[in-house]
Amino acid sequence: MKQSRTKWFLVVASFAVLMTVSGCAKKQTPPPPPPAPPPAPTASLSANPSSIEKGQSTTLTWQTQNATDVNITGVGPVEPSGSRQVSPPDSITFRLTAKGPGGTQEATARVTVTAPPPPPVVQGPGDEELFAQNVKDAFFDYDKYDIRADAQQALQADAQFLAQHPNIRFTIEGHCDERGSTEYNLGLGDNRANAARNALVQAGVSADRIKTISYGKEKPFCTQSNEQCWQQNRRAHFVYQK
């Protein structure tokens, strides 16, 4: 039986050779070409409008390709393409960074923020009318510039009104009755205007809102020669300053 043993040996050997050969045949084919490199990302970023006033908003619009990770400074991670409304407080250059397997790409958009014009000091329609209705004159005794009780009340109420309307500026005119001398009455009128002003300042009204002027007896409110008219003229008169 020596012949079957040889056949068996040949088969196994062929098989081994085949195995080896096939194995060797694998190692011996040229390697396949490497795959093409991934495309670089593209990015674009724009802001519309590019100039805004503080407090307003602008719309950022971007597009990227081949990016897996897109980030905009001041906004954060974003989808690869899209738009977003932003309200930067100051001028800023938005920087978009697009990262992908192919690399990194950046894009910028500049937004200029200007300070808005100061709001006009609108004293409100009707401030002048309110002033005329609410701010009462202070009246004085003969040859006096002391603040008497009724004048004190009037001035306190005036001070309250003026505190509620801090934008109002005004002039205090000092007046005298027709008796007495022109020159001396200029001084007395000045004293009366100042007395009223001091009372208001002490009650909290800021002095830089107040101007004073004396008219002596030169601009009377009435011209009869009786005590009623004379009292009308002895006053500190308030005038709204436009």
């Binding site: 003969y142 040859d143 008796r179 007495g180 001398s181 022109t182 020159e183 001396y184 200029l186 001084g187 007395l188 009128g189 000045d190 004293n191 100042n194 004073t212 002027i213 004396s214 008219y215 002596g216 030169e218 601009k219 005590e227």
Partner: protein, 455 residues
């Protein structure tokens, strides 16, 4: 002819003043007032009897009649206004009008009815657009050497110039016969008038002629004071920003710079040398008195420091060393006096409501306006008073009609201009310093705050 003793000369030249002082003092309260009146030695002297003849016209064609009329009227009025002559009325004059020394008849003038001591006469003619005047002053009681004055004038032939020549001739006569004091016939009065629609500064001749507007500011102008050299008027005006002292140049006919301060600035007054202006300012918060250099506007000095209005300063025009003013520091305004640097304060009035001091040219008297009983419901009027500065004794000059204010002395110390509403509205009046011969000078609009020029 000029006397050294000024007080003596004052009383000598104003015998009527001295007489009236004595009369009023008998009815006044304080018997101590008799002393200073009795020192007047001029009580018995008579005024010179002066005749001013119409000047003879030497040419015939127009406008000789108008010029002659203006000249004659003005000459007579100036001599009458001087207050030192007993003017002989024209109804007593001889019919023959002397035009030259050869034509004067001494006896006709020195005997009754005229009974004149002095006669002013002369002639006036127009030729070639010029008016020529020859004038003489003759002592008709002295036939040997009668001529006291002989003068010649020539100007362009206008009515204004005829008046001007009359003023000059009258001033010469007054100077020669009036003890060496300059006449006032060419002096001016500055005042406030509202007749243009705004209160502005106006001026006029001392007799009320030639009233014309000086300033054009368009605000409320007050308190005009002409400078001693007659070139500028200081005044105050209330505008939008307050009351400021302004300076008007009469030569340039416009405002010139003067510093502005805050507050109410009012009542400017010139020192007699023209170098300083005193005024009231409330720049510190209360009206106080200050002086400042008039030309440069620098050198501000504060004189008062007391709560209450200090205002209406007036320099002693003789010495320039003192200032009279008004202060409300004790309540109602009173007259005070102090040195020009603020020292030596003295109170002059003792009550009532006293304002508007004006110091006489000889430095001896203060005029002011006084409301002796002032207060709610009090009757009575505000009158002009005169006070002897040394003794503080006073005499009332106006007689309780209406409100009288802002007296101002004439440069010869013999006349007073003041504001009065006795005719129904504020107007300018003059009178002699003894309170007599009150005359209304203005009629249009309302006129106030007069100031007599310094010469």
């Amino acid at each position: 002819m000029r006397r050294c003793n000024i007080a003596y000369r004052y009383l000598r030249m104003k015998p009527s003043l001295a007489v009236v002082f004595a009369l009023l003092c008998c009815t006044a309260l304080a018997s101590a007032q008799q002393d200073w009146i009795r020192t007047g030695t001029g009580l018995g002297i008579e005024k010179v009897r002066l005749a001013a003849a119409d000047f003879k016209a030497t040419t015939t064609e127009a406008p000789i009649a108008d010029l002659n009329q203006a000249f004659n009227d003005t000459l007579f009025a100036d001599l009458e206004n001087a207050g030192i002559f007993d003017m002989v009325s024209k109804s007593f004059y001889p019919l023959q009008v002397p035009g030259t020394p050869q034509e004067i008849n001494f006896g006709a003038w020195s005997n009754p009815p005229p009974n004149a001591s002095m006669v002013a006469f002369g002639n006036l003619g127009v030729a070639g657009g010029q008016v020529s005047v020859q004038g003489w002053l003759f002592d008709v009681k002295n036939q040997q050497s009668p001529q006291v004055l002989g003068k010649q004038y020539r100007e362009a032939a206008t009515v204004d110039n005829a008046r001007l020549i009359a003023h000059r001739f009258a001033n010469e006569i007054i100077f020669r016969l009036g003890g060496g004091i300059q006449g006032i016939a060419e002096s001016k009065i500055f005042f406030i008038s509202d007749r243009s629609g705004h209160k502005e500064v106006w001026s006029m001749d001392y007799d009320g002629a030639n009233q014309k507007q000086v300033t054009r500011v368009g605000e409320i102008s007050l308190s005009p004071r002409v400078s001693p050299d007659g070139t500028r008027v200081a005044f105050s005006a209330i505008g939008g920003g307050g009351s400021n002292i302004l300076m008007w140049s009469l030569e340039l006919n416009r405002l010139v710079t003067f510093p502005k301060f805050g507050g109410t600035n009012a009542s400017p007054a010139w020192s007699p040398d023209g170098k300083s202006i005193a005024f009231s300012s409330s720049r510190s918060g209360d009206p106080e008195l200050y002086t400042i250099d008039a030309d440069s506007g620098t050198g501000l000095k504060r004189l008062t420091n007391y709560r209450g209005t200090d205002i209406s300063p007036c320099f002693n025009p003789k010495s320039g060393a003192q200032i009279a003013f008004v202060s409300g520091r004790t309540g109602l305004p009173q007259i005070y006096m102090m040195d020009a640097d603020g020292a030596n304060l003295q109170r002059m009035t003792d009550g009532g409501y006293a304002v508007s001091p004006s110091w006489s040219p000889n430095g001896q008297f203060l005029l002011f306006a006084w409301f002796r009983k002032y207060g709610p419901g009090e009757p009575g009027a505000q009158d002009v008073y005169i006070m002897d500065v040394a003794s503080k004794q006073w005499v009332q000059l106006t007689t309780g009609t209406g409100r009288n204010d802002f007296p101002s002395w004439s440069p010869d110390g013999r006349h007073i201009v003041f504001q009065s509403n006795r005719s129904g509205s504020d107007q300018i009046w003059t009178m002699l310093a003894d309170g007599t011969q009150a005359r209304q000078l203005t009629t249009q609009g309302r006129n106030s705050m007069p100031n007599w020029s310094w010469r």
